[in-house]
């Protein structure tokens, strides 16, 4: 699937409008996700980039109704039905019917008391109503599809007997067992070694193509997104600040935060004399500033930035930015 997907997606698979995630306690109220808009096209891999605290993982969890205790989501969430029409859905009830999730840490996300074959078969049993024997055959097929060697034997293994890469493959097989049309990936390769990470990225990419499955891939690692995503949305302080086709984003970033992120991490194929970090810290989600939330760390800040709307502007040629200054920023491609 190398076709570029236009931002003005005619018939998206998933549409998220004005998503807010709020955590309330007796005295405080925090809204770490504060107005996120996203669309995912059928078959598209959308990358969601950002640093810790940007709200990227919470956005993903809110889509599937898996928020941590105390969190509540508000917003318009729609998922395409069988006829392709977007229908509002209840995040708490959507699990297993069209969406599933792959987590970062395969050791803690897999049930340690179940043989991996049984665990994978469970999805087919519950969501597709298969008999146990059929589901087991299906599980072995899925294990073969995700590249687990000798799946018949491996199906009898316990999670602790597997290496990190195999565990992550088991988790992907588990996620596939409900035949999802959208796979939500929360840093699925961050805990893996480079050579294994590469294998898992290739696997996910192949699965997306073969199954015509969409993906939202959350990570802080831009090179990983450069290699897997069709389109990338960059999050900062609770909102999307820039969205663009992946190659275009790296060629010509339009938001100073994207630009800074690109130039602050050392990158293996770009040798820069000195790294440019980002001064300061992201704003406190309890007291987000009124205007641009990146303004006090931005090296391109100008008059008016503190009152500028902190929202993605108009999407032109599949690209949008929350920066009101029309800057000519240097990319890395």
């Amino acid at each position: 699937m190398t076709t570029k997907v236009d931002q003005t997606i005619s018939s998206p698979l998933l549409s998220v409008r004005d998503l807010h995630v709020t955590f309330r306690s007796k005295h405080t109220e925090v809204t770490p996700v504060d107005g996120v808009d996203l669309e995912v096209a059928p078959g598209e891999i959308l990358g969601l980039a950002g640093e810790s605290g940007s709200g990227k993982s919470l956005t993903l969890r809110a889509i599937l109704g898996l928020l941590p205790r105390g969190g509540s989501a508000k917003g318009d969430l729609r998922f395409a039905g069988d006829n392709g029409e977007l229908v509002p859905y209840d995040p708490a009830a959507v699990r297993g019917s069209g969406m599933s999730m792959v987590f970062q840490e395969p050791m803690t996300a897999l049930n340690p008391t179940m043989r991996v074959g049984d665990l994978i078969a469970l999805g087919a049993q519950i969501h597709q109503g298969m008999s146990k024997a059929d589901a087991m055959t299906e599980a072995v097929d899925l294990m073969r599809e995700v590249g687990i060697p000798v799946p018949e034997r491996r199906a009898r293994s316990w999670p602790h007997e597997l290496s990190g890469g195999l565990r992550q493959r088991v988790m992907i097989a588990t996620a596939l067992s409900t035949k999802p049309r959208l796979l939500l990936c929360d840093e699925p390769t961050t805990a893996l070694d480079v050579t294994v990470q590469r294998q898992i990225l290739s696997l996910l990419r192949r699965l997306a193509e073969e199954r015509q499955m969409s993906m939202i891939f959350v990570t802080h690692d831009l090179p990983v997104l450069a290699s897997i995503a069709d389109r990338i949305a960059v999050m900062y302080a609770g909102r999307v600040v820039e969205i663009n086709d992946s190659r275009e984003l790296f060629r010509r970033p339009k938001h100073p935060y994207t630009h800074a992120l690109m130039h602050s991490a050392p990158v293996i194929d770009v040798t820069e004399e000195r790294l440019v970090g980002i001064e300061g810290r992201p704003p406190d989600p309890r007291r987000f500033p009124v205007g641009c939330r990146f303004a006090d760390r931005c090296s391109f800040v100008a008059d008016g930035c503190e009152d500028a709307p902190y929202r993605l502007g108009e999407i032109v040629d599949s690209s949008g930015t929350a920066c009101v200054r029309e800057l000519d920023l240097k990319g890395v491609r």
Partner: protein, 322 residues
């Protein structure tokens, strides 16, 4: 060799029980975490040590600062250094750890941590300790007020700076940074990496920079040592190793790294995962995953062959060595 720090066949072995009771009987097996590592670090150089988890890079670091005992020879400034060493020698090699949250004593303020060190090692007269603390905190570019707060109220980047100040308090000649930025956000990483580079120049430190992150190694190091399952597979200047890797493992590692300028290709450069360090193959440790392995690789361990711009432990290079 004229290195400040010289390693000659340095190995670290752990006894691990085959079963719960094995370790009390005779059935214990040996895990070789670091196997015959040999290299030397010239004064002021920055050596990167790179490899995947379980390759022994952190154990090597622990051996160098004397936290685990080792076999082979370690020399500092020409004199042999044992794992148990005098205070004077301990001071010379200092380390910044990966997780600044758990490597700082949570009950002590940075001032207390630093003062204690300065006192025990008699770095400055007692009445100059406060001044020295202020100097150190300034050295790592933190405001002086940070000296008197609890570590938990500091950010990850600030804590890592305190970890750096603690290591530098003992005025070492060799600084080991073990995954020192792995736990930090990219924007914070940049400032810590810049700070380490600056301090290295300013204080003329010899730097051993350990990381799994190829990009960070390329940025920080002059030379690089690539490790796989405890053994050293390649050594050379950073530019040469990254642009023209000789060992098939280094080649696979570099080809696997995600790059900003390249899309994912369909072929996977390398399949499988490393074998268990308890059950190592008799020949080359990489042979099972190596696309170029031949019969000899499965039976014999390749030595380090030197070539024009470095050395690599691979039989493919044996011709050019003769």
């Amino acid at each position: 060799m004229t290195g400040l720090l010289e390693l000659e066949n340095l190995s670290v072995r752990f006894n691990v029980g085959g079963s719960l009771f094995g370790r009390f009987g005779n059935s214990s097996t040996t895990l070789t975490a670091v196997d015959s590592v040999t290299f030397s670090a010239e004064p002021g150089r920055s050596i990167g040590i790179v490899g995947e988890s379980g390759c022994g890079k952190s154990t090597l670091a622990k051996a160098l600062i004397g936290l685990v005992s080792y076999e082979g020879v370690l020399r500092f400034d020409g004199a042999e250094l044992k794992a148990r060493r005098t205070k004077q020698l301990r001071r010379q090699i200092q380390m910044v750890f990966q997780d600044p949250g758990s490597s700082l004593n949570p009950a002590l303020t940075p001032r207390q941590t630093l003062s204690e060190l300065l006192k025990i090692h008699e770095m400055v007269p007692v009445d100059a300790i406060d001044d020295r603390c202020a100097e150190l905190i300034d050295l790592v570019e933190l405001p002086a007020r940070v000296l008197d707060v609890q570590p938990r109220s500091l950010s990850g980047g600030q804590r890592q700076r305190i970890g750096l100040a603690r290591a530098l308090a003992l005025e070492p000649s060799v600084l080991i940074a073990d995954e020192s930025v792995a736990a930090l956000d990219v924007s914070v990483q940049a400032s810590i990496l810049n700070l380490i580079s600056d301090l290295k120049e300013e204080l003329n430190l010899t730097l051993l920079f350990i990381s799994h992150d190829l990009a960070v190694i390329r940025h920080m190091a002059d030379e690089v040592v690539v490790m796989y399952l405890g053994g050293m597979v390649e050594h050379g200047s950073v530019a040469e190793v990254f642009d023209d890797p000789q060992h098939p493992y280094t080649q696979a590692l570099l080809a696997s790294a995600p790059r900003l300028k390249r899309d994912l290709t369909d072929e996977t450069p390398i399949i499988g995962e490393p074998p268990s360090p308890l059950d190592l193959p008799p020949g080359c440790r990489f042979a099972g995953r190596c696309p170029q392995a031949f019969d000899l690789c499965h039976t014999e361990r390749p030595p380090l062959y030197s070539h024009d711009h470095g050395s690599a432990a691979c039989f493919l290079l044996s011709d050019s060595n003769e």
